[in-house]
């Protein structure tokens, strides 16, 4: 499976990474090379094999659905690039 420039543009957008138009052909080439390496997986007979969901056979733990912390707005916002009035601030989302 080879990736063309259009697919590379689409993948970059899905990943929310800006890639310059000029850089797309090189990116497509790199992605194609990695995917070609993965093609080997098609040699394996996986008939009737369940996809692994957990590497160790253990039940996921459940916890009580209770509040265990809170009231730490300052701590939560302390690393925000833009925080105002106790909120994260972002560019306008709705018109």
């Amino acid at each position: 499976m080879s990736i063309d420039t259009d697919t590379a543009r689409k993948v970059a957008h899905l990943a929310r990474i800006a890639v310059k138009e000029d850089d797309l052909p090189a990116l497509a080439g790199e992605l194609s090379a990695v995917l070609a390496f993965m093609e080997q997986l098609n040699e394996v007979d996986v008939e009737g094999v369940e996809p692994m969901t957990s590497v160790t056979p253990m039940r996921l733990k459940r916890r009580e659905d209770v509040v265990t912390d809170g009231n730490m707005v300052d701590k939560i916002l302390s690393n925000a690039p833009d925080a105002r009035e106790g909120f994260f601030a972002v560019p306008k989302v709705v018109e």
Partner: protein, 495 residues
């Protein structure tokens, strides 16, 4: 007695308990070694104030007679671990200036045991790399050199700073993390010991996530006994990590009996790769002979799906990474790109991630995005998860046949020069993990032990793979190998 920063954890512990030295003295010795080792670029955030404060507290504890083994021991912490109030960037520009308000469970447990944090250690960005060349801090450098040749060599990756710091005696030990070989490969490249425990042994809480089903923390130390001591302090159930194993942690140091008579050591034929350097072949054969001389039975085994481990890994790990790294959006922490007039939220995401992530991270996030996208999910991601199940079954079969441990090379070569792989395609770099990645896919414990030097004088290591949750037995096998190999070489100081 050797210089204080050259001590093992065990030797320092014993000296501390006898009152022959203090944590303050050990800590100062390490801090001054770090000051003199800028050329290695191992420590990227130094925390001397925290170190001195903790050393004083440790000395008080030792005086009071309440001293666990790690009490007063100066260690380095990989930058992937969140440490309260101290930069924790995963070697990425996207986490520039990030200072967590919380502490990872593993580093907290070490601190509770009295360990002294000296600072944060260099690594590949988000632990994606095998040479420490993807770091936003620049390359960490291996203290070892090829004879008199002054070419700068890689310490391996992703835990390259940890490996370099331990090998150069800048600290007594360091934490590492291992997703596809990131503890074991750098340990082998620098002549130190590194163990990745069974998946679930160490809590992942507060460790910046790369591929959650593969990531495990572990110690990087000067010998096997130290690995046992430090691993003990790092392990244990943590309710904050739902995949953390609720199992008792045995006394790993007590497992080091040095007796492996009657144990069955598997030698997997699929690990004998085409074009494997003769030196690696010989190292492996020598290690096999050492285990046999120690009274173990050597058994040829087959792990038939080994060949497919790397391609499966390079589907599963990027898929998980693309999901985990979605959180870096420029909103809650880390870098946010400067926006142009009229830019909306999508431009903010796209510019922030383009500026903040390095090239290898971008590539892996996009590969992961692709293999998870509609239409390809079954062909790539589900197929890789099925192959992963088969790889795990290979190991289960040999363990069911009575194999106690598996002996393999740790890496396909000795440390290579920084920049030497720059023009190679990414797959060539990925091959560094060919012997280690199976262990992550199967969730097993694995340890790298230095057992020899190549003809250029660089360290080489062997890997032992153990049964799940049997780290004690695995460490004992490694202890036997270590004693038989008698590896005592140290890099000549040039930095």
């Amino acid at each position: 007695m050797s210089a204080l920063n050259q001590l093992t954890i065990a030797a320092a512990r014993d000296a501390l308990r006898k009152g022959e030295t203090s944590s303050a003295e050990l800590t100062e010795a390490c801090l001054s070694a770090i000051e003199g080792a800028g050329a290695l670029n191992a420590f990227v955030h130094k925390t001397p104030e925290i170190a001195r404060e903790r050393a004083a507290a440790a000395d008080a504890r030792i005086k009071a007679g309440d001293a666990p083994s790690m009490c007063g021991i100066p260690v380095g912490i990989k930058d992937l671990f969140c440490t309260r109030g101290v930069p924790s960037q995963a070697a990425s520009n996207i986490l520039k200036n990030f200072k967590p308000e919380y502490e990872s469970t593993v580093s907290e447990q070490l601190a509770d045991a009295g360990a002294v944090m000296l600072g944060k250690l260099n690594m590949d960005e988000f632990a994606m790399g095998s040479s420490n060349e993807t770091s936003c801090y620049g390359n960490a450098v291996n203290p070892w050199r090829r004879g008199n040749d002054d070419t700068a060599l890689t310490p391996g990756g992703s835990s390259g700073g940890s490996a370099s710091a331990v090998a150069a005696d800048l600290c007594l030990a360091a934490t590492g993390t291992d997703t596809g070989g990131s503890i074991r490969q750098p340990a082998a490249f620098t002549g130190i010991t590194g163990i990745k425990p069974t998946y679930g042994r160490c809590s992942r809480w507060g460790i910046v996530a790369f591929a959650s089903s593969l990531d495990q923390a572990g110690p990087m130390t000067k010998d096997v006994r130290d690995a046992a001591i430090m691993l003990q302090a790092m392990c244990g159930h943590d309710p904050k990590d739902s995949t953390s194993a609720d199992l008792p942690v045995p006394d790993f140091e007590a497992a080091l009996t040095g007796d492996i008579r009657g144990k069955k050591i598997g030698i997997p034929r699929e690990y004998r790769m085409d074009g494997m350097p003769e030196e690696i072949e010989k190292l492996w054969a020598d290690g096999t002979a050492m285990m046999k001389d120690a009274g173990a039975e050597i058994v040829d085994i087959s792990l038939p799906h080994t060949k497919y481990a790397l391609p499966a890994y390079y589907v599963v790990a990027p898929a998980e990474a693309s999901s985990n790294l979605a959180r870096y959006d420029g909103v809650r922490y880390g870098h946010r790109a400067k926006l142009a007039q009229g830019d909306g939220i999508t431009e903010m995401y796209e510019k922030t991630r383009a500026e903040g992530f390095g090239h290898e991270v971008q590539r892996r996030v996009m590969i992961g995005t692709y293999v998870l996208s509609a239409g390809f999910y079954d062909a790539y991601y589900n197929r890789a998860r099925k192959v992963r199940a088969l790889i795990k079954r290979d190991f289960e079969n040999v363990f069911a046949d009575g194999i106690d441990a598996i002996l393999t090379p740790a890496t396909p070569s000795a440390a290579f020069g920084l920049g030497e792989m720059a023009d190679a395609d990414p797959i060539a770099m990925y091959l560094n993990d060919v012997f280690t990645v199976t262990v992550n896919l199967a969730g097993l414990p694995g340890i790298a032990v230095p057992t020899g030097l190549d003809r250029q004088g660089l360290p080489l290591g062997l890997q032992l793979i153990g049964r799940p949750w049997e780290e004690g037995d695995l460490l004992n096998h490694a202890y036997v190998l270590e004693r038989a190999a008698g590896f005592v070489s140290k890099p000549a100081k040039w930095w």
